[in-house]
């Protein structure tokens, strides 16, 4: 099978694995891009095509389809941030983020959703961003859609998604067939471990190869540690290699001087670099208002086989509850792919009870509800801070407003699963048990304590922390992604979102990065 990474490397791509460096290094470039995920990948292609000398930095390793193993025990440590063990400071929410060339786009589940209108309207109202009014984002959503082959998934949903669809249909709830960024997808279900067929149109197989073909350089296994700045400009960037387990190794120093610095490390790592660099923060918003779409989980057993590990992981979602009119927090309903490590670690219980549930693995169907945080005074997200090693930790408070959403989400998911034909439903909460009928589940869920560690919460979408705003008093970057105080620093990743989206963020990040880099190219070309 054709492997675009192996092919490119054999053709002489400029790639340096920083972990092999033994002496200090210096680089001079037009633009350095820190991070190779959705934001950095788009930036790399556009800036290279515009004729700039581009240097890409990535904390993770450069892997390709021939490296990807369809096993979680390989994928999580090698492709995910902190071995998929990233958590909030109080450890109440697990956070899945990619950390490899291509970032989260290499391991995400391919769901591609255009920026919801209510989110754009909220940004207009609160942050003066006129994306909705002037149609400023639509053309870039279209460009990204074309570049990454985003289209509606026309095959029959797998049974895990099919039950979400069936439940919605039975209850008269809204649902949508998901658009996916795939080309030649074989419907296998291993998107989360790296696509073995190069069908997923991640940054790894699209924009990054294009940038490397255009003469860009990629340094993998490198950690950006500090932006050195003076006055209103960044002077240089200091970085160090990482070891085989992706821990920083300060024995070799890498110094990079660039005309312009593009930060795209994601919504936790980007603020962390800026905090380590002690950049100006007059708005007080750096590393603040970090959103997670905290996700609530509900398992169900069906009489028939579900085989939730087979087929496109996500092909149906429901927005029935995502934008409620009563001001309470909304939530989007989706399903996750079911693989043994992910399920075993999230399902509640121990010993025989846990083993019994795992033995029914193929009958298991799981729904998740993604809470739309960031639109209410009691849902203002978390704060990125640095630990004693200089690494980020996200302090994310769980408020009563959020807990109200958690409880309603458990109810909606159980109702849906029973309506789809589940023989039993298990809200993933430490005080819940398996319920055989909807009225029983409804009564029990109403009594569950809504407290951290009792409810199992997870996140796969990290947003905010360097938010955009038209007013420097309320944002870290301006609507063009330009840092408000440092003139040669642009940020284009999930960190610039002023709220959560109520939708999976990759397409919004592609479009914003495209828009920002189109402006940046004009600015740098003057």
């Amino acid at each position: 099978m054709y492997d675009p990474i192996a092919d490119g490397l054999s053709r002489g791509w400029r790639h340096i694995d920083a972990s092999t460096l033994r002496t200090d290094q210096e680089f001079d470039t037009d633009v350095v891009i820190i991070g190779t995920g959705a934001g950095g990948g788009i930036a790399a292609e556009l800036l290279t095509q515009a004729g700039f000398k581009v240097l890409m930095l990535e904390h993770g390793a450069l892997y390709s389809s021939r490296d990807f193993r369809q096993q979680e025990r390989w994928a999580y440590p090698e492709l995910y941030q902190d071995g998929a063990g990233r958590k909030t400071l109080d450890q109440a929410i697990s956070i899945l983020q990619g950390r490899t060339v291509g970032g989260s786009t290499t391991v995400n589940w391919t769901t591609s959703i255009r920026t919801p209108k209510p989110a754009l309207e909220y940004w207009q109202q609160e942050f003066g961003l006129d994306f909705a009014q002037t149609n400023a984002l639509e053309p870039f959503l279209d460009l990204a859609t074309g570049r990454l082959n985003i289209s509606e998934w026309l095959l029959t949903p797998n049974h895990n998604n099919g039950m979400l669809q069936r439940g919605c249909h039975a209850l008269g709830w809204q649902y949508t067939v998901i658009h996916r960024n795939v080309k030649g997808c074989a419907n296998t279900g291993y998107c989360g471990m790296g696509c073995p067929l190069n069908a997923k149109q991640s940054m790894l197989v699209t924009t990054i190869p294009a940038a490397l073909d255009g003469g860009a350089t990629l340094i993998s296994r490198v950690s950006a540690r500090e932006l050195v700045w003076r006055g209103n400009a960044v002077q240089e960037l200091w970085a160090v290699p990482v070891d085989a387990q992706f821990q920083t190794d300060p024995r070799v120093k890498i110094r990079i001087r660039a005309r312009h610095y593009v930060l795209a490390g994601g919504a936790i790592n980007s603020p962390a670099l800026l905090l380590r660099s002690k950049v100006p923060d007059p708005s007080g918003r750096l590393g603040k208002h970090t959103y997670l779409h905290p996700s609530v989980i509900s398992g169900a057993l069906f009489p028939q086989a579900i085989h939730g590990h087979q087929g496109a992981p996500q092909s149906i979602y429901s927005d029935q509850f995502v934008w409620p009119a009563d001001g309470r927090i909304g939530y989007k309903l989706e399903v996750p792919p079911l693989h043994p490590v992910l399920m075993a670690s999230k399902l509640t219980g121990v010993a025989e009870a846990h083993a019994d549930l795992m033995r029914q693995f193929n009958q298991l169907q799981v729904v998740i509800a993604l809470l739309r945080d960031g639109y209410h005074p009691e849902a203002q997200g978390g704060t990125v801070q640095l630990d004693s090693y200089g690494e980020p930790q996200l302090d994310y408070p769980l408020t009563d407003y959020l807990w109200d959403g958690v409880q309603r989400a458990y109810l909606s998911m159980a109702e849906l699963q029973f309506a789809a034909g589940a023989s039993a439903v298990l809200p993933i909460h430490n005080d819940a048990r398996m319920y055989q009928r909807w009225p029983q589940a409804k009564a029990a869920i109403a009594q569950l304590p809504m407290q951290r560690y009792r409810a199992t919460l997870a996140s796969a979408h990290v947003m905010g922390g360097c938010n955009m705003s038209a007013d420097a008093a309320t944002g870290v970057v301006d609507p063009q992604g330009q840092h408000q105080q440092l003139r040669n620093l642009t940020i284009c990743d999930g960190s610039i979102l002023p709220s959560s989206l109520g939708a999976n963020p990759q397409l919004t990040i592609y479009a914003l990065s495209w828009r920002i880099c189109t402006d940046l190219i004009k600015k740098l070309s003057v």
Binding site: S65, R66, D67, F68, R69, Q70, Q71, E72, R73, W74, Y76, P77, D82, G83, G85, R86, K87, D90, Q91, S94, T188, G189, Y190, P196, L197, Q245, F246, Q247, H309, H339, P340, V341, M343, A344, S345, V350, A351, E352, A353, H354, A355, D356, M358, R359, F361, N362, D387, S388, Y389, E391, Q393, N430, R452, Y453
Partner: protein, 170 residues
């Protein structure tokens, strides 16, 4: 009336300096070997409890499955952030020391001398503790240990999980 274990845990909680509710002393005094020994001891004690009901019935296969899972945890730990590694090492060291053990388990007996039912009771008491640090310990260890066991293809027949394999990995 306050039970003895609650009293001990309250004392432990009052002296917190790390997020696991303990002092740095054992970690600072420890060597690489003592940390590895502590981790091995604790994992060898907790894995049979958590996996009770999931392990193969043959004694030989059971031992092999436990060894595989313990080794998988030990191989995975260096990928965690250094702050999380420090917390876990601290917990492992305390659980193998007599005083720390008493504080965390309420027993003078070493962890691997307790019957499986007592080890499960211990985990339940952490899960339901009013101390956030013990709840974190419960959830953290649970995720780590179940992840290690169910990551092994040799443990999948019970699940009837039949993954595709484009690139073999053994």
């Amino acid at each position: 009336m306050m039970q003895r274990r609650q009293f001990i845990m309250l004392g432990l909680g009052a002296g917190v300096s790390l997020s696991l509710g303990v002092t740095l002393y054992p970690l600072l005094q420890s060597t690489d070997k003592s940390r590895a020994d502590a981790a091995t001891l604790v994992l060898d004690a907790l894995l049979p409890a958590l996996l009770h009901g999931a392990l193969p019935s043959s004694a030989t296969e059971q031992q092999a499955a436990l060894r595989r899972s313990r080794d998988a945890v030990l191989q995975f730990l260096p990928y965690l952030p250094r702050s999380q590694q420090a917390q876990l090492q601290q917990l492992f060291l305390l659980l193998q020391q007599r005083l720390g053990q008493l504080a965390l388990t309420g027993h003078w007996l070493s962890l691997n001398e307790l019957p499986i039912s007592a080890r499960l009771q211990l985990l339940s008491s952490w899960r339901d503790s009013y101390l956030a640090t013990l709840q974190q310990a419960y959830h953290g260890l649970r995720e780590l240990l179940y992840g290690a066991y169910y990551g092994q293809p040799l443990h999948w027949p019970a699940l009837k999980y039949q993954p595709l394999e484009f690139n073999p990995y053994v």
